[in-house]
């Protein structure tokens, strides 16, 4: 029988406001095994912890139940407290009477009753707890950054700067991401390329950084400090180490009608291509969907003109296996598809474009060499309508758009409007908005300049419909402040499309067993206090994969993620989690059910000889768990038909005891 001490925390009024903590302490006194039960204002404070230590010494306690906040907050605190008083840290159980009780109830009697039940469950569990000792595992001192946009670039540079090797995996042929496609950046209006490309060069020149471009992560095994990652390097049909990036192949390639994704399909590229001048690595890539040689074996011009002999039509996808200690997700964002927003006539008129397309239209390296011309007829537009929040903040139409605010659109629209007026003073620029949101250093000043200095017409209200008529776009909108309908004959309509996480994020999250929210943004371990860590140990978040972000925010978060990675890689050994699965070989059927449900590949089988009661021997196939790989998810314990598989610290008997205590 355990000797259990129960400690009920008030958490100021956080708990004591809706839970009668004295009644909880009193009620738990009578539970089996409980020797002492008491309450205190702040159990996590120095004096609160001292109270626990004193009680352990005075009452020779063997188990502790703390009724307090979520174990995610202070479980470690109390485990350390217990350990310093000489009892095994895994003899501590937390009854979460704050997040799961006091915060969700308003009624004191109900809250108190529930807190007592939760406390009883924890006591029932501690009665079956056993001391556990964690193992240690080494740390592979190399980091993986998935995504080569500004987030991934900055993270990689910072990690490399601390002396650790980093690999960047980028699915496009070049790093640079969305920022490489932008023209100017708010609020200072530096040219995006001018500030991004030096960083790309830094990455390329850094001998600690390897770039796997045109590559994807296909498999992740292992755990914090010891990830085994498989990277699929797509065949680019050009030898990366031989190609000089001279571009002779591109000039000769006869297949010149391939939509150029870097310019969002607004012009064409060749089948063999380098996305843009500063691409890193500056290596050509053959698009197998368009290359005649790859499709039907007829052509081969690029191989003939390549002086370096870099073309290799027989190249195959390559699989690289590498070990990493930490993984940073920096998969970024994309504008949402405008398909469902037909009221803006995006699919009907070439002159209805998204803001990212507008960036390319104003970029010197874009399809119009930086001249703002209408995509339909190449004429200079005189009336331009910007529509904000297209697909953002869609409460009523969550099916169609996103419920969240995409955050960056207000600022870039102000930038677009301002730059247009600056360069082409003969244009009329209208911006339709729901609200203008400009928190951020120098952001509001920037927006006000657009309105006050540059005379952009900001109109509160939404555009209802855009109808192409002749060479005009009839924009029908409402002005909510004047309460009247507006009709504008526009030459160009620019939609500030909501942004969403890249489509590759969801399968990647599954590979990493990292959690996501309903919008497919990666969830952080704590929204305020651990914003760059995912709840999965060893997986960190950088940039817009975690939520909409502008460049300054992305860069600071990228640096923060890097510092967390450096903190991890600087360690030589990590203490493991002893709450892992283990199999009772006498009961194991060898059926493989556990192996099949294990997301971590922690279970293997071997044939083992058993002495039978009649002195014969029997060789049976039995499961064994690698405790270093097991994450303690418990999937195997549920799948095991005979109950041979169980979890340390969360044994089926412990969970049943908790259920019994709750249902009693």
């Amino acid at each position: 029988m355990q000797r259990i001490g129960v400690f009920v925390c008030w958490c100021g009024t956080n708990i004591a406001g809706t839970v009668d903590v004295k009644a909880v302490a009193e009620a738990l006194k009578n539970e089996p095994g409980v020797i002492v039960s008491t309450d205190y204002q702040y159990m996590c404070s120095q004096s609160g912890q001292q109270m626990i230590k004193d009680a352990i010494a005075e009452h020779k306690l063997t188990g502790i139940v703390v009724c307090s906040c979520s174990p995610r907050m202070h479980e470690t605190t109390f485990r350390k407290t217990a350990a310093s008083a000489g009892i095994n840290p895994y003899m501590v159980e937390i009854a979460n009477i704050r997040e799961q009780c006091s915060w969700v109830h308003k009624d004191m009697p109900i809250g108190t009753e529930k807190a007592i039940i939760l406390g009883k469950a924890a006591v029932a569990k501690v009665n079956l707890n056993a001391p556990l000792t964690p193992g240690e595992s080494p740390v592979t001192k190399r980091a993986l950054v998935i995504g080569g946009g500004i987030a991934g670039i900055q993270t990689a540079l910072d990690i490399a700067d601390a002396g650790f090797p980093v690999d960047i995996v980028e699915k496009k042929p070049t790093i640079g991401g969305k920022m490489a496609q932008l023209d100017k950046t708010f609020p200072t209006l530096d040219c995006a390329a001018c500030i991004l490309t030096p960083k790309m060069v830094d990455v390329a020149q850094n001998d600690k950084i390897r770039i796997f471009s045109y590559s994807e992560v296909t498999d992740v095994k292992g755990f914090v400090g010891n990830f085994d990652v498989t990277i699929r390097k797509h065949a680019r049909y050009v030898k990366e180490d031989v190609c000089t990036g001279c571009g002779a192949c591109i000039e000769k390639c006869p297949m010149k009608k391939v939509p150029n994704e870097f310019n969002l399909g607004m012009d064409n590229r060749t089948a063999i291509y380098i996305p843009f001048a500063q691409a890193t690595p500056k290596v050509a890539t053959i698009d197998p969907n368009y290359c005649n040689m790859l499709k039907n074996g007829k052509c081969g011009l690029c191989a003939k003109v390549c002086a370096a002999g870099a073309i290799d039509y027989t190249q195959k996808d390559e699989f690289i296996e590498e070990k990493y200690g930490a993984i940073v997700v920096a998969t970024g964002f994309n504008p949402i598809s405008m398909e469902k927003f037909d009221e803006y006539a995006y699919s009907q008129s070439k002159d209805v474009i998204t803001s990212l397309e507008f960036e390319r239209l104003t970029n010197a390296a874009g399809p119009t060499a930086g001249k703002l011309l209408r995509p339909s007829d190449g004429k200079h537009p005189h009336t331009i309508v910007f529509v904000q929040c297209v697909g953002s903040r869609c409460e009523a139409c969550a099916e169609k758009g996103k419920e969240y605010c995409s955050k960056i659109c207000c600022m870039y629209t102000a930038k677009h409007a301002m730059l247009t007026r600056d360069k082409y003073p003969d244009t009329d620029v209208y911006v339709f908005y729901i609200d203008v949101r400009t928190p951020g250093k120098n952001f509001d000043e920037f927006y006000r300049r657009a309105v006050e200095e540059y005379g952009v017409h900001y109109i509160k209200g939404m555009v209802g419909k855009v109808t192409p008529e002749g060479d005009k776009l009839k924009v029908q909108a409402s002005d909510l402040l004047l309460n009247k309908q507006l009709h504008i004959d526009a030459d160009l309509v620019v939609l500030a499309a909501a942004i969403e996480p890249d489509k590759s994020a969801r399968p990647l999250a599954t590979l990493l067993t990292a959690s996501m929210d309903t919008n497919d943004f990666f969830t952080e371990a704590h929204p305020k206090l651990r914003p760059v860590e995912s709840p999965t140990a060893g997986v960190f978040l950088s940039g817009a994969c975690q939520g909409p972000k502008d460049i300054p925010e992305t860069v600071s978060q990228a640096g923060a993620a890097a510092s967390k990675v450096i903190g991890l890689l600087a360690k030589d050994k990590l203490t493991g989690n002893p709450c892992v699965a283990h199999s009772d070989e006498m009961m194991c059927n060898g059926c493989s059910s556990c192996e099949r449900v294990c997301p971590y590949g922690a279970i293997t089988y071997n044939d083992k000889e058993f002495r039978m009661p009649d002195r014969t021997t029997l060789i049976r196939r039995v499961a064994s768990v690698n405790p270093a790989v097991c994450q303690g998810c418990g999937a195997c314990t549920v799948a095991c038909p005979s109950g041979a598989m169980d979890l340390h610290g969360f044994a089926s008997s412990q969970i049943m005891a908790e259920v019994d205590a709750i249902c009693k």
Partner: protein, 332 residues
């Protein structure tokens, strides 16, 4: 009547015993009565000729016996498998429950097995013997001079009326003709239960399961129940045997068992066949099979050796549990 004859089976088994391919034969032997056929191990042609039986009462599925028999026999074992038995055979192989190398599987066609309970409903009690020849069963009773002729089709076991497959999914050798996977109406009864109100359904199962005498026959015959240590025999499991406090308490045994075999049950119907209380236990399992089909896509346990059942499979494409929950309303 079965198309394949007893003599053909004995001939095949004797030949394989004689040439040393197999050391033992798993077959059927007569029990107390003609309809009371029991599994038996034969080691010689003489034994086969004396005791081997093949009739409309050879329902027993031998797959499960391979788990224990292959461990004890130092040679190969010949096993006769009806089409439905082959699914259990595959399922056990998938779960690595016996060594395939130690088995010689002979697939035999099956025209459906008779249900003695149905015969007893037609004939008076006191059945002395039953001839299984032709399309009718000739039932000799103590009270009639002339045998009662019962059309075999009228007394087919439930699982044979709703036969899911005449195709063998595993064998080393096939006797007779291969059949097809059938379009059975086996889920109709489940659909009826689903259409009931919760109260009606509860009353139905209360009526059925209260008859349980907890003889464990269903578990002992079930080819999915081959655990080294069954949870019901394990004092540490928390669900070990205890005498019931009321007549309906054994429902927990059946519910737990249904969960344990969910996704692994091939719907062989042995549980209902052996139940002395005639509880339609297969309906519990079929409900699971139907739900798994609905929620995760069609899956037949045992149809393919090594197949990964939806409930015990992890893939990166796994859908969120919430999505499965939503399908409940649309498809179930």
């Amino acid at each position: 009547m079965q198309k394949i004859t007893r003599e053909q089976l004995i001939e095949k088994a004797s030949a394989l015993l004689a040439d040393g391919t197999v050391k033992q034969v798993l077959g059927w032997a007569k029990g107390e009565f003609d309809y009371d056929i029991t599994p038996a191990v034969f080691e010689s042609a003489e034994e086969l000729n004396a005791n081997f039986v093949w009739s409309d009462f050879c329902g027993a599925n031998f797959s499960k016996y391979l788990v224990s028999k292959t461990r004890k026999c130092d040679g190969k074992i010949l096993v006769f498998l009806k089409p439905c038995d082959t699914y259990s055979f595959n399922q056990l192989l998938t779960e690595h429950r016996f060594d395939r190398e130690k088995v010689y599987a002979v697939g035999i066609p099956c025209e459906g097995m008779a249900d003695i309970a149905k015969i007893k409903e037609i004939c008076a009690d006191g059945i002395a013997s039953i001839d299984c020849e032709g399309d009718a069963l000739k039932v000799h009773t103590l009270y009639d001079d002339e045998p009662v002729c019962v059309p075999a089709a009228d007394v087919l076991a439930e699982r044979c009326v709703n036969c899911k497959s005449k195709k063998h999914v595993a064998y080393d050798e096939l006797l007779g003709e291969e059949g097809e996977v059938l379009d059975s109406a086996r889920f109709d009864e489940v659909a009826k239960l689903e259409a009931m109100t919760p109260d009606e359904r509860f009353a139905f199962w209360q009526g059925e399961l209260s008859r349980c005498i907890r003889c464990n026959a269903c578990r002992n015959v079930c080819p999915a129940c081959t655990c080294e240590k069954c949870v019901f025999d394990n004092p540490n499991s928390g669900v070990e045997n205890k005498s019931p406090a009321n007549s309906f308490e054994e429902k927990m045994f059946h519910i737990i068992r249904a969960f344990h075999v969910a996704g692994r049950c091939t719907d062989c119907g042995e549980c209902s066949r052996v139940c002395p209380q005639h509880i339609p236990l297969h309906l519990l399992n079929r409900k699971f099979i139907k739900d798994i089909d609905n929620f995760y896509g069609e899956y037949q346990a045992g149809a393919e050796e090594g197949s990964r059942a939806p409930l015990v499979d992890y893939t990166t494409e796994d859908i969120e549990p919430g999505e499965v929950f939503d399908r409940r309303d649309t498809d179930a």
